[in-house]
């Protein structure tokens, strides 16, 4: 059973955090809790729920923006002939490798000038630096895998490229769109650097920022932090278990593109 140590390494910390979230604050000093309590969860309060909502809105917003802008662009890159086609795909791959810090200062000034600083909408734009390249990559490779004759048939049937996309390729792309949406959602939900830099008021914080800056009165409230971590993990755990196959295909398709 060579899997046990691996499972212990990966799941152990998560289970320990779950236990800690039920650990009464007073007994934190003991090696093991004598009793379990839900006080930490109750103590999380509105601000944490607010952060969860913000994360949801930003992640959903980024997903919507990237699918809206990326879907037909990916179709064009995969199927149509136009100048700069490979340049665009190459640039998008390069951009996905940009370190986010490289664009923090200009984006800060840009968002500030546009009055978008310290706003959730203001986070969606920077998030597309990593989300859009991912969307383009996944959807382009999916559209390329569809049989060539399908596109020829659509053109023979009189479709303009846009009609071919709307009537034939978009309906067929629903599985790929779902995979892309999930991955973009996860990456947006997990982002920290831009959120820390651009959002200041507590009411607009996302989950990663809320957890990073979680500070109690004096001592670190480890019980509450654990509770917050568990709550932040739940939606993603659900996503992972429900769409595991999709996520794996998306990750590997995105990576191994022989």
């Amino acid at each position: 059973m060579k899997r046990a140590p691996v499972l212990l390494f990966f799941l152990g910390p998560l289970l320990w955090q779950l236990l800690t979230s039920l650990w009464p604050e007073a007994e934190l000093t003991r090696p093991l809790p004598r009793s379990l309590t839900l006080a930490n969860y109750a103590g999380l309060g509105g601000s944490f729920a607010r952060a969860a909502l913000n994360s949801l809105l930003v992640a959903a917003g980024t997903t919507a923006l990237c699918l809206a802008a990326g879907a037909y662009a990916a179709f064009a890159i995969a199927r149509l002939q136009f100048r700069g086609r490979s340049l665009l795909l190459g640039a998008s791959l390069a951009i996905s490798m940009f370190p986010p810090i490289a664009t923090v200062s200009p984006l800060y000034l840009l968002l500030r000038a546009a009055g978008l600083r310290d706003s959730l909408a203001g986070l969606v734009l920077p998030y597309s630096t990593f989300a859009l390249p991912l969307t383009l990559w996944l959807l382009t490779s999916y559209f390329r895998e569809l049989p060539d004759d399908l596109f020829r048939a659509a053109r023979v049937d009189g479709c303009t490229p846009w009609q071919a996309f709307v009537h034939v390729f978009l309906p067929l792309a629903t599985p790929a769109l779902a995979t892309t949406a999930i991955l973009v959602f996860i990456f947006s939900w997990n982002e920290l650097l831009y959120a820390l830099a651009f959002v200041s008021t507590p009411a607009k914080r996302t989950i990663p920022v809320a957890i990073a800056l979680f500070a109690g009165e004096h001592l670190e409230p480890w019980g509450q932090i654990a509770a917050a971590s568990v709550t932040a993990t739940l939606p993603l755990a659900l996503l992972t278990f429900l769409f595991q196959r999709r996520i794996v295909r998306g990750l590997t398709a995105g990576a191994v593109r022989e």
Partner: protein, 439 residues
């Protein structure tokens, strides 16, 4: 229109060449104008409409109930004004970051806010603090308030904030373990060694060594204790021989075993709890510790004394000035600004500071409160702290100190952790500060 004029401005580059960076002054000016216009329109509303002044501050006391009743009394005296208090997370660095990015974005959703003494020069220079010289002229300010506090609240001869209450670094000692308060570092070491032999396992001297602003306070105090000059006219001077000697002394307490290694990852609370559990002979900390160690059930109740910090020469050492000032948000609309000023003067009045001292054992910033008979009678500890408070020294009062704080902390932490020599660490920090100030 008394909107704070954007202060002097180095010539801006013509906008055409800057693709991304907008022309700051125009943006900020238009934004301030807009705010005032909006505000003016609002004031035309019926005069008696209740005005809500938002007071934003870090959590300053365990139980806010007493303070709420205190604010309610202000409402009583000013029926037209409602006060809503908003608290921020506790960490001082985090709170500053939040104020900076809010104010930098022109936020006007709060009016009065409590700022750390070291932020005042930076916020004033950035044009975020309303000029209160009309209501708190400099002479009055310096006469009524402790000198260091008044100094921290002013910039280039104008008043930008009003001292609320202060903190000063001081030495706590176990009266049952040492003959008297040590005056020199050598005495501190000798007394501590003797006590450690008598009571094995007890730590000699606890101070705050974690990488945060508290470490800077310990550093400056050790510097002053070794004769370092107080920052002349807002210059951050780290590379003086005395400053280096002070930092070496701090590192020395670890090498000699006088202080335990855990000091390197401790802040106020960790050291206070250790001292309160009787696990240390000496403790450097803030006045708030007194109420804790004297509380019923505290293992060291009645066995603790306090005194000025020791020095190399034996003169009473100066503690670093801490504490909070109250300022008015420059972006706040005109109507709420007048009410805000009234709230500031109410909270920094003699009666208010007395109340805060008695209820939350907070050191008043007003000199006169220390002579108040009620204070002497009900809070002798605070009254006795006047000489220390009066001689407290501010960390460098310059807009650049708050900005350079993070880098200085890093270098000091490296020195006390033994990663770099004191001289090298201070050299690197000075180089960063000079670059930042464009010297």
């Amino acid at each position: 229109m008394p909107c704070a004029p954007p202060n002097e401005q180095t010539p801006c580059l013509p906008t055409s060449r800057e693709t991304i960076c907008t022309h700051h002054t125009t943006v900020r000016a238009t934004c301030v104008l807009l705010l005032c216009a909006a505000a003016c329109s609002r004031t035309r509303a019926p005069a008696d409409a209740p005005l809500t002044v938002v007071f934003r501050h870090q959590p300053l006391w365990a139980d806010p109930a007493a303070f709420q009743t205190f604010l309610a009394r202000f409402h009583g005296e000013n029926p037209g004004v409602q006060v809503r208090a908003e608290t921020l997370p506790n960490g001082s660095d985090i709170a500053r970051e939040m104020f900076v990015s809010a104010l930098e974005g022109g936020a006007d959703d709060f009016d009065v806010f409590a700022i750390d003494v070291i932020w005042a020069p930076e916020f004033a220079r950035a044009g975020w603090l309303a000029d209160l010289s009309a209501f708190f002229p400099q002479q009055g300010l310096r006469a009524q308030f402790l000198p260091a506090a008044a100094e921290a609240a002013s910039l280039e001869g104008r008043t930008y904030a009003v001292p609320w209450f202060v903190d000063v670094g001081l030495l706590y000692y176990r009266k049952d373990l040492v003959p008297r308060a040590p005056r020199t570092y050598a005495e501190l070491e000798r007394f501590a060694r003797a006590a450690m032999e008598r009571q094995p396992g007890v730590a000699g001297f606890l101070w705050q060594g974690r990488q945060y602003e508290g470490l800077n306070c310990n550093f400056f105090e050790a510097g002053w204790g070794h004769g370092a000059p107080q920052a002349p006219e807002g210059k951050i001077l780290l590379t003086t021989a005395a400053a280096e000697a002070g930092l070496r002394w701090l590192r020395g307490t670890l090498d000699s075993g006088l202080s335990p290694r855990s000091v390197l990852s401790s802040a106020e609370e960790e050291t206070r709890r250790a001292f309160q559990d009787g696990r240390a002979v000496f403790l450097r900390n803030w006045p708030y510790v007194w109420a804790q160690v004297q509380a019923p059930g505290s293992p060291v109740r009645g066995k603790v004394g306090f005194a000025p910090l020791p020095t190399a020469t034996g003169e009473p050492g100066a503690g670093a000035l801490g504490g909070w000032l109250l300022a008015v948000n420059a972006h706040a609309p005109e109507a709420r600004r007048r009410a805000a000023v009234r709230l500031v003067s109410y909270l920094t009045s003699h009666a208010a500071e007395l109340e805060l001292a008695l209820h939350y054992s907070r050191l008043p910033a007003r000199r006169a409160v220390y002579d108040d008979p009620r204070l002497r009678e009900e809070a002798p500890f605070i009254a006795a702290l006047f000489p220390l408070a009066a001689t407290a020294l501010p960390r460098p009062v310059t807009p650049w100190y708050a900005l350079a704080g993070d880098d200085i902390q890093g270098e000091l932490s490296a020195a006390v952790a033994g990663l770099r020599s004191a001289g090298e660490a201070l050299g690197r920090a000075q180089r960063f500060v000079d670059h930042l100030e464009e010297r």
